[in-house]
């Protein structure tokens, strides 16, 4: 780990001020991705701004037709939340599938979105459920948030404070985990909402993506059988020790069907 200055603000305004003042500042929530990366000396920060002192960010609540999750809500809290299980059980299932108990006890949904790891589960949750990222100054639609490998459209000095989800009619989560990291080799969030059907895939490409052919087929007939015959191209799929493009393309189909089955079970 390289040396850094540690800050623990107690308000969002103070955090934003610290972040803007730093030449190279990063926010810390659960730290389950950032800290190991820093320990490997693959990431560094002049200033680490620890959000854990901002208690107003630690919440999960229903707000009318939406489920809102604060930037400090841990995966375990999302997985165990009665509100989440009642309104979007697929989101609770996603949170329960993240990493291992240690990671779930510490890691946060919003932190995972900001880190934008191509194999993380949360990006598929955001995009599949058509969530909205809430920052200290604006709201960003799911489809506008990610910008490729480890990149988001957040501006310098902007801090994510939470994420809001519309309540879907149905949603399902299916994940095929890497045996080593327990990140997704391919995982799919499928949701049927008032605004249409969404199919979001993570783990398979450089960033989360939607599958329009599947969405169209499911819009007509929301059943696993509707996905039969839809071929996913291996083009652009990740190739690593754990999965080659052909295998990943195949897994996207299998996981999409299982997600629909989970949604309709």
């Amino acid at each position: 780990m390289y040396a850094f200055n540690y800050h623990r603000p107690s308000s969002i305004a103070e955090a934003v001020k610290l972040l803007k003042a730093s030449s190279d500042g990063r926010c810390l929530a659960g730290g389950m991705s950032l800290i190991p990366t820093m320990k490997h000396r693959l990431a560094s920060a002049a200033d680490l701004i620890d959000l854990n002192g901002i208690r107003e960010l630690a919440f999960i609540r229903r707000e009318g037709d939406a489920l809102v999750i604060g930037a400090l809500a841990r995966h375990v809290e999302i997985a165990d939340s009665a509100d989440v299980k009642k309104s979007i059980p697929a989101l609770a299932a996603l949170a329960a599938s993240v990493g291992d108990p240690q990671v779930r006890n510490r890691g946060t949904f919003c932190g995972s979105l900001c880190f934008a790891d191509p194999a993380a589960d949360c990006p598929a949750g955001l995009v599949g459920l058509n969530g909205t990222v809430i920052t200290d100054k604006r709201r960003i639609a799911a489809d506008k948030f990610f910008n490729g490998l480890y990149e988001t459209t957040l501006e310098k000095g902007e801090i994510v404070t939470g994420v809001s989800f519309p309540i879907p009619e149905k949603a399902g989560w299916a994940k095929f985990a890497n045996l080593a990291s327990r990140f997704a080799i391919a995982a799919v969030m499928v949701a049927k909402t008032g605004g249409g059907v969404r199919v979001a895939v993570t783990g398979a490409k450089a960033s989360v993506f939607r599958v329009p052919e599947m969405e169209a087929a499911l819009a007509k007939n929301f059943s696993a059988a509707a996905l039969d015959g839809i071929k996913i191209s291996p083009d652009g799929m990740n190739n690593d020790l754990h999965g080659d493009p052909d295998y990943r393309a195949h897994l996207v189909s299998v996981m999409a069907k299982r997600a629909v089955q989970a949604a309709t079970a």
């Binding site: 490997h40 080593a180 080799i185 754990h242 295998y247």
Partner: protein, 788 residues
């Protein structure tokens, strides 16, 4: 009686409360400096320049050392404890693993190029980044199967080949004849994947030089502290009496912590140069890259059957990867433990194997739990499984048919090893009942009809454990005497300290050795403590590896206790005015048989030191040391069976059930033994399904450098085990105990591989190399589908 009881581990209080003392926990009165290393990022490269000036000026840096400094200091090499020899008569092409690069060539990723010693780790790492090394990358050879192909880059060009050694074993005439009259021949490619032990505690070393007393101390994550001390006589050329080696609590070794790794002498070298204690604790990445790797055999085999499924003969060709250099115990695999056990639990008339050791641009390979035998069981059992299926025979029945009959034991295999005890047919019979084998086959039929790919895997084998005897192991290539030692020091108060040459890094010797001693001495276990792991306190021992400690050090405890009792009885008899042979020991008392005359153990031990009234010629004191050289190895045997479910859509394997019936002779503590089976199976499951030290075949880059890519089983991947024992005693030691530490890692890979193939045989799959990852299984299913 304590022996045979599942007594709770006496060491667990400190471990479970997080208060063990591991190398990294050791504190000294002086400040401890930290070492960090510049390591080669290339599998094969020439170093054109190393610039260290900037690093030397960095904050907190005490010294920067390179191979040039090593040469200047006139230090030596890591000489083999079990060096290879070439049984064909040609000299083996040995190059010892270097501690630091001294010839401007790096031959595997992770090889140390420079060391920084600084006030803290972070400063040392910062300084490492300031060292500039100019590498000229060279083509690398990282594929074992291709190591001897024309055009493969040479790891050590001076030899003109990548071949280290060539050896042949078995009875080729019988094999020829067997294949000639075979009714059926099965042929398979059966490579064993490269894995690494991954103990929970990474390797760590601390060196200290006491200038005033001219004494050296090394704290080390070692399994055999005296062997470490001996290594230092060659590496840093330190006289044995000047060096104290302490292996405190060690969090798992699995064979991997037996070797003189580069960081061990380098830490002490740093301490000598700076005159401060110097410590290095490996990161997980450094350990995945630098800990010895294991297995990595490329093997092709054939098996000949008669029409009834009797195995007539088998033959193999193996390329055994050494990695870039020879690690110190390499030949314990290639020259001792691999080929010797090929007959497994079966009566096989003809066996022939050709083994060629090969250099590759990979981390050196050395022994890891099972050392050679997981490879052996896998290569033979895969052939048996496929042979049975091809001939339409039940694989369980075919194995039973070939199992060595008890009346044939002692049984000498075609390789020439004699199993002294065991009853394989009984192990199979017990397994059939334990696993409800017939019901499982019925269930399988039903599940297959529903499209659920359930498979049953089976294997049966003998292990060779308990090395020595000294002579036998010398003959198999060991340059160390494979005996062990124990001292039993009875204090005047009757309390006892046992000093043993073994080392517990998970094995629970503080519990089991004291169980043995308490029974032998007739006193309470709480009155006995165990000391291990300190060369200044314990007589020269050979350490813990190869499932040997019980049948060597454990028997030395028996022998030393017996000597103590023999002497104490003379004194007690004198005090009770009877003959020593009239005495029995019970509950801390010497009792005259058939009378109520007795005297307390502590009274006798007090007299042993403090009383002038003792039998003529009886020496003062009560302390005995026994060096124990067993009469034979021990030959534990086992039958394993597993049930797997393969998801044909994703290729994922779920291990539903795992059963083991083991014959390890006398069990000292059944709970400790079950723990050994569980842990061994977990590591075998890893080998079978997920673990792999992977290298990119074109660049030679190491791909599994963190636990994000190197997959070890999680608790959720492990089923509940069904374990049973069948006990036949070995005549080779007084307790009849055989080694129980490796059965799981030896049996599980073959067992699970057979289960997976059994699950998808009907879909046309015949073989998948390990680890049988979801990706590989899915591709195998696709190829089978395309081929149908």
């Amino acid at each position: 009686m304590y022996v045979g009881q599942p007594i709770r581990r006496r060491e667990d209080f400190r471990f479970l409360t997080g208060r063990g003392t591991f190398v990294d926990d050791v504190q000294l009165t002086q400040p401890i400096l930290h070492a960090a290393f510049v390591r080669s990022p290339h599998a094969h490269a020439r170093i054109k320049a190393i610039r260290t000036d900037a690093a030397r000026k960095m904050p907190g840096v005490h010294t920067v050392l390179t191979g040039a400094d090593w040469l200047k200091a006139g230090y030596g090499e890591a000489e083999g404890v079990w060096p290879v020899n070439d049984r064909s008569g040609k000299p083996a092409r040995t190059v010892n693993r270097p501690f630091i690069c001294v010839d401007n060539m790096v031959r595997c990723v992770g090889e140390i190029v420079a060391m920084v010693v600084a006030d803290d780790r972070h400063q040392a790492l910062d300084a490492c980044e300031a060292i500039e090394v100019d590498y000229e990358a060279l083509p690398a050879n990282v594929v074992t199967a291709k190591a001897l192909d024309k055009g493969t880059p040479l790891v050590h060009p001076k030899f003109g080949t990548n071949e280290v050694l060539e050896s042949y074993h078995g009875n080729p005439e019988v094999v020829e004849a067997g294949f000639k009259k075979a009714h059926h021949i099965t042929k398979l490619e059966v490579p064993t994947n490269r894995v690494t032990a991954s103990p929970i505690e990474p390797r760590a070393y601390m060196g200290h030089y006491d200038v005033m007393n001219d004494r050296y101390t090394v704290w080390t994550t070692a399994q055999a502290p005296h062997i470490v001390r001996q290594y230092f006589t060659k590496s840093l050329r330190i006289d044995e009496h000047k060096l104290r080696v302490i292996a405190p609590d060690v969090g798992g070794g699995f064979g991997m912590k037996l070797y003189h790794y580069p960081e061990e002498p380098l830490a002490l070298w740093g301490a000598i140069v700076t005159e401060h204690p110097v410590k290095w604790t490996g990161t997980r990445s450094e350990c995945l890259m630098g800990d010895t790797h294991a297995r990595d055999h490329y093997t092709v085999g054939e098996m000949a059957f008669d029409k009834d499924g009797k195995i007539l003969a088998m033959r193999f060709k193996t390329l055994a990867a050494f990695g870039a250099y020879e690690s110190q115990w390499q030949a314990s695999i290639t020259n001792a433990y691999h080929f010797t056990m090929l007959s497994l639990a079966y009566d096989i008339p003809g066996i022939f194997t050709e083994v060629k050791g090969v250099y590759t641009n990979c981390t050196p390979v050395d022994a890891y739990r099972g050392a050679g035998r997981p490879e052996t069981v896998y290569q033979v059992e895969r052939l048996i499984e496929n042979g049975a299926k091809e001939m339409g025979m039940d694989p369980f029945v075919l194995r039973e048919k070939n199992a060595i009959r008890p009346e044939k034991i002692p049984y000498t295999t075609a390789i020439g090893i004699t199993y002294d005890s065991g009853d394989p047919p009984e192990l199979f019979r017990k397994m059939r009942v334990l696993a409800k084998y017939d019901a499982l086959r019925e269930e399988q039929k039903k599940l297959h009809a529903q499209g659920i790919c359930m498979g049953i895997g089976i294997c049966g084998f003998f292990d060779m454990a308990g090395a020595g005897p000294v002579k036998m192991m010398n003959d198999l290539g060991a340059k160390i005497g494979c005996y062990d030692v124990a001292s039993v020091r009875v204090h005047p108060s009757g309390k006892v300290t046992v000093f043993a040459g073994s080392h517990s890094h998970g094995q629970a010797h503080a519990t089991t050795w004291t169980q043995i001693a308490a029974d032998r001495l007739g006193i309470d276990i709480e009155e006995i403590d165990l000391v291990e792991g300190d060369t200044d306190r314990v007589p020269f021992g050979i350490g813990t590896w190869g499932s040997r400690s019980l049948s060597t050090a454990g028997m030395a405890v028996v022998a030393a206790c017996d000597r103590v009792i023999e002497k104490a009885k003379k004194l007690a008899a004198h005090m009770l005015e009877c003959a020593p042979s009239d005495l029995v020991i019970e509950n801390g008392q010497f009792i005259v048989k058939g009378t109520d005359k007795k005297i307390a153990f502590a009274e006798v031990t007090n007299a042993a030191y403090h009383s002038g009234d003792r039998p003529k010629g009886l020496e003062i004191g009560l302390e005995e040391t026994a060096f124990y050289d067993p009469t034979d190895c021990t030959y534990p045997s086992a039958v394993h069976l597993c049930v797997v479910i393969v998801d044909p859509e994703t290729g994922r394997v779920t291990l539903r059930d795992y059963f083991a019936v083991d014959d390890v002779g006398r069990v000292i503590n059944p709970m400790v033994f079950e723990g050994q089976v569980h842990g061994g199976c977990a590591q075998g499951i890893g080998q079978a399904l997920m673990e792999e030290c992977a290298y990119d075949p074109s660049s030679g880059q190491y791909l599994s450098g963190t636990f994000m890519d190197y997959a070890i089983p999680h608790s959720t991947d492990i089923p509940s085990f069904g374990i049973e024992s069948h006990t036949t005693l070995t005549p080779s030691n007084p307790l009849g105990a055989k080694g129980g530490g490796e059965s799981g890692t030896i049996g599980a890979p073959a067992c699970i591989a057979n289960g997976v193939i059994d699950a998808i045989w009907h879909l046309g799959v015949r073989q998948i190399s390990q680890p049988m990852t979801p990706k590989k299984i899915w591709h195998a299913l696709q190829s089978a589908k395309a081929g149908r």
